[in-house]
């Protein structure tokens, strides 16, 4: 390898990365600022009091926490197993966990429809049992869990990985079995990462749009309601709901962390 010739670039130019990076920062900040300045001109309270908006908010606040709970309940043990065991086929399982992260949400939605849609055996059975898996709150939860679940698994796994295994070994030697050690040592020490993962999962779930559109266009959540109102009334009509969704996300992210 011929090293990059330093003579041409000897003069330190510390501002280059900051300048280049600034372009991206502007692209992130300007829309945010423009949106917030817009909110002054529209009647947010009135927009949110309309019955369709209130129902969308209620649906979102019902589904996203449940999806987050499912993802956490099943995802944290999965993360621990991935961090601490080295079974054959582990890489395959890791691939499966990352899959929903790289699959585009609309494709994820299509996948869910092929699995639990009205005309699949599973979907038909559930419908007969009175629990429709599409165009229902259950469908919303399935879509949200599929898309947002990997976040808590990946983050918690990194958190468990950062816990020195010898702390667990010490607990075992002090008389505690694997489950008690998990509860007393691993879980408290990975707490920060797990909470971060839960927050990310919630943020992704409450804002889920693509997969929800496919699996459960009805009943409306905030994101799907925003789309419907955007079609009908353009950008001005959706500012109140978009602001509400942003507020829910930002409040959860900042208070829990």
């Amino acid at each position: 390898m011929r090293a990059f010739d330093p003579r041409r670039l000897r003069t330190p130019t510390r501002f280059v990365p900051a300048l280049l990076g600034g372009v991206l920062l502007v692209h992130f900040v300007v829309p945010f600022a423009a949106f917030l300045s817009q909110t002054g001109t529209s009647n947010v309270v009135a927009g949110l009091s309309a019955p369709p908006a209130r129902s969308a908010i209620r649906n979102s606040l019902l589904t996203a926490p449940v999806a987050t709970l499912f993802s956490t309940l099943f995802g944290v043990p999965l993360a621990y197993a991935l961090a601490r065991t080295s079974v054959r086929g582990k890489r395959l399982i890791e691939g499966v966990v990352v899959l929903p992260l790289v699959v585009p949400p609309v494709v994820g939605g299509a996948m869910l429809l092929t699995a639990v849609g009205r005309f699949t055996p599973l979907g038909r059975a559930a419908l007969a049992a009175g629990l429709p898996l599409t165009d229902s709150l259950a469908g919303v939860i399935l879509a949200q869990t599929f898309v947002a679940g990997p976040f808590v698994v990946v983050t918690a796994r990194a958190g468990f990985g950062a816990v020195d295994e010898r702390l667990e070994q010490a607990s075992r030697s002090l008389g505690y079995g694997p489950l008690a050690t998990f509860w007393n040592v691993s879980l408290p020490l990975a707490r920060g990462a797990i909470v971060a993962g839960v927050v990310l999962t919630f943020a992704r779930a409450v804002g889920e749009f693509g997969a929800t559109m496919m699996v459960a266009y009805n009943p409306r959540t905030i994101p799907t309601r925003i789309w419907v109102e955007f079609i009908a009334g353009g950008i001005d009509a959706i500012v109140p709901l978009a602001l509400a969704l942003l507020a829910i996300t930002v409040v959860v992210v900042t208070t829990v962390q």
């Binding site: 010898r166 010490a170 075992r172 030697s173 002090l174 008389g175 079995g177 040592v185």
Partner: protein, 356 residues
């Protein structure tokens, strides 16, 4: 025997980590498990603690075969090289942790925590969190936590290796003191021969996964069973020689002869032997005196000033170099000197074992 390791063998993939290792610890004994990095010490610790299931061999604790028992069923406490205090518990909670796993009532736990914090002179820091402690204090709390449940065996896995010299010596003294106070059977694992020799009643010296010698520090230092032990326990000069007379022993080192009047050799005349002698046991005589001690002549080839002493390298006519420790001003480079070799301090190895 409180702890007995018998025929322990383990491999990682195709690489043998330990091969047929057996040793035992009597009640209340402190034994040093000593060897260079990668000699298999950690594998043995993990097997005794129960975090690793050995490929072959047995671990006995107080007469019970615990080889297949999980760690929580053994009464073995471990202190690792890196601190493993729980950051989310106070000092007191850390020490109480191992007690709460057993059927002990709360008031008795409190008492035991108090006693063990006093043992390590940290009773006043009971409510502190580990992050508030100094490195040495953390180590002492780890010791208290390991000792509080009164384990059958305490394993100390390189507890001093990550520390500075002064802290290291302070903790070495503290460990010695605590071990004498509590009488806990202790296996002290280290790669540092000074730590091992200062603390241990007996040493188990390991090399490349196998035991190279087991005895008291003094016996291993004075009469090492193998050249590896000789050089690992302290600096050692090796000189190749040939047996001229087996009894009384006369050795030829190149053109020179060494007569060791009180020694005899199992090996016949003509056999090659490797002679080991420590730099501190050699002295310089400016010329052949009337002294009866055996001597070798050579030329001063290098002098290192170590502040407290000089290391004088003397190159023999055979091109071998021996180092002589000397307090006084060393002779100038190139001077021909006579090295006095005290017969009792020479250890001989047949060349067949020299490669061991």
């Amino acid at each position: 025997m409180t702890l007995e390791v018998s025929g322990l063998t383990h491999r990682y993939g195709s690489k043998t980590a330990v091969e047929d290792v057996s040793f035992s610890l009597a009640d209340g004994e402190i034994v040093g498990l000593l060897g260079p990095s990668g000699c298999g010490k950690t594998t043995i610790v993990q097997a005794i603690a129960g975090h690793l299931r050995p490929a072959a061999g047995r671990i006995w604790l107080r007469g019970e075969d615990v080889t297949r028992q999980p760690p929580e069923r053994r009464r073995v406490s471990v202190v690792f090289q890196e601190p493993t205090l729980y950051p989310h518990m106070t000092v007191g909670e850390n020490v109480a942790y191992g007690l709460e796993a057993r059927e002990i009532e709360r008031s008795r736990i409190d008492e035991l925590v108090e006693t063990h914090l006093e043992l390590i002179s940290l009773a006043s820091r009971r409510d502190a969190y580990p992050a508030e402690l100094s490195g040495g204090q953390k180590r002492r709390v780890e010791l208290a936590r390991a000792l509080a449940p009164e384990p059958d065996v305490l394993l100390l896995d390189e507890p001093l290796s990550a520390l500075d010299r002064s802290l290291r010596e302070e903790l070495r003294r503290a460990i010695g003191h605590i071990q004498r106070e509590t009488g806990v059977t202790t296996l002290f694992v280290t790669h540092d021969q000074a730590d091992a020799m200062a603390l241990a009643d007996r040493l188990v010296v390991m090399n490349e996964g196998a035991i190279a010698g087991v005895d008291t520090p003094r016996a291993l230092y004075g009469s090492p069973p193998t050249p590896f032990v000789a050089s690992f326990l302290g600096r050692s000069n090796a000189v190749e020689a040939t047996v001229v007379e087996p009894e009384p022993l006369v050795l030829a080192v190149g053109e020179q002869t060494l007569t060791l009047p009180e020694a005899r050799s199992d090996r016949p005349a003509g056999a090659s032997v490797s002679c080991h002698v420590r730099p501190a046991d050699l002295t310089l005589a400016e010329s052949d005196g009337t002294d009866t001690a055996p001597t070798l002549s050579g030329a001063v080839s290098h002098v290192t000033d170590r502040g407290s002493r000089y290391d004088v390298s003397v190159t023999l006519p055979t091109d071998e170099t021996v180092v002589v420790e000397r307090q006084a001003e060393p002779p100038p480079l190139g001077t021909t000197v006579t090295v006095r070799v005290p017969a009792a301090k020479v250890t001989r190895f047949g060349t067949d074992t020299a490669g061991k």
